[in-house]
């Protein structure tokens, strides 16, 4: 699905724009950046409840295209600015982690577990 479809499915607010037609095939959800760095492979989208600049840095190191902050928390301007300079799209949804992941999965997005 495209980022635009992610926005629609999650009823999300776009905090940092980018190429909204970017195709997303796989995603992961985690509040632990340690786990994202250790276990994620080619996921283009990260859902997280953690709100600090290291979320954007982790996405940057993993070549992810889009970060979704769940639970509708307010996101600091410095986080948005960092994402802007790194060309990472940032969204915010009111849904909690489980629901957000479930909605995207139902919409066709997959995690990495399929391979196992």
């Amino acid at each position: 699905m495209t980022v635009n479809e992610v926005v629609r499915i999650l009823n999300a607010t776009v905090l940092v724009e980018g190429d909204m037609e970017t195709e997303i095939k796989t995603a992961c959800g985690s509040d632990m950046m340690s786990d994202v760095l250790a276990f994620v492979k080619d996921q283009a989208l990260l859902l997280t409840g953690l709100c600090n600049p290291q979320v954007i840095r982790t996405a940057e190191m993993m070549d992810m295209r889009c970060v979704v902050f769940v639970r509708g928390k307010d996101i600091d301007e410095s986080i948005k600015n960092l994402a802007r300079t790194r060309d990472i799209i940032v969204l915010k949804t009111g849904y909690r982690m489980f629901t957000a992941c479930g909605l995207l999965f139902a919409g066709g997005l997959r995690g990495e577990c399929e391979e196992k």
Binding site: D31, M32, M33, S34, D35, L37, A38, T48, L50, N52, P53, Q54, V55, R57, T58, E60, M61, M62, D63, S78, R86
Partner: protein
């Protein structure tokens, strides 16, 4: 491309800035047209090491040598050192306090991940003096 050497101070008192050095290295490697798989390995390994210097050792220095064949990264800190490197290399072993876990780190996955993404890794550490990580990623 001859050898390009980059040096960074990694401040220990500002968690929000942790990763700036790794980010800069990643961008430089991209500009040089370096092999994307090698860039990814360098970025992840160096970022894990940089975060470790900030959360466990009060900051440190990074030196990165880039040549067409390989990237060498040396991370040096003057923190507490690692008493048992064998243990520290195990997945899930961490001394990180709760406040670090609340920041999204401290799962004990960093060092094993560095091992996974580097082609060569040496750790020199002495309790009370500090730690140096020598990593090499082949192009």
């Amino acid at each position: 491309m001859s050898t390009l050497t980059l040096r960074y101070e990694v401040p220990g008192d500002d968690f929000t800035r942790a990763g700036e050095a790794s980010s800069d290295v990643k961008r430089k490697l991209k500009q040089l047209g370096y092999n994307p798989e090698a860039i990814r390995k360098v970025a992840i390994a160096m970022y894990e090491g940089e975060i470790n210097m900030v959360i466990h050792a009060g900051g440190g220095e990074a030196t990165v040598d880039i040549d067409p064949k390989q990237v060498k990264i040396v991370l040096t800190d003057h923190g507490p050192g690692i008493p048992d490197v064998g243990k520290a290399m195990q997945e899930g072993w961490s001394t990180a306090p709760d406040n670090v876990r609340n920041l999204g780190f401290g799962a004990g996955m960093g060092l094993p991940n560095i091992k996974k993404y580097t082609d060569e890794l040496r750790i020199d550490t002495k309790v009370g003096e500090g730690t140096s990580l020598f990593m090499t990623v082949y192009a």
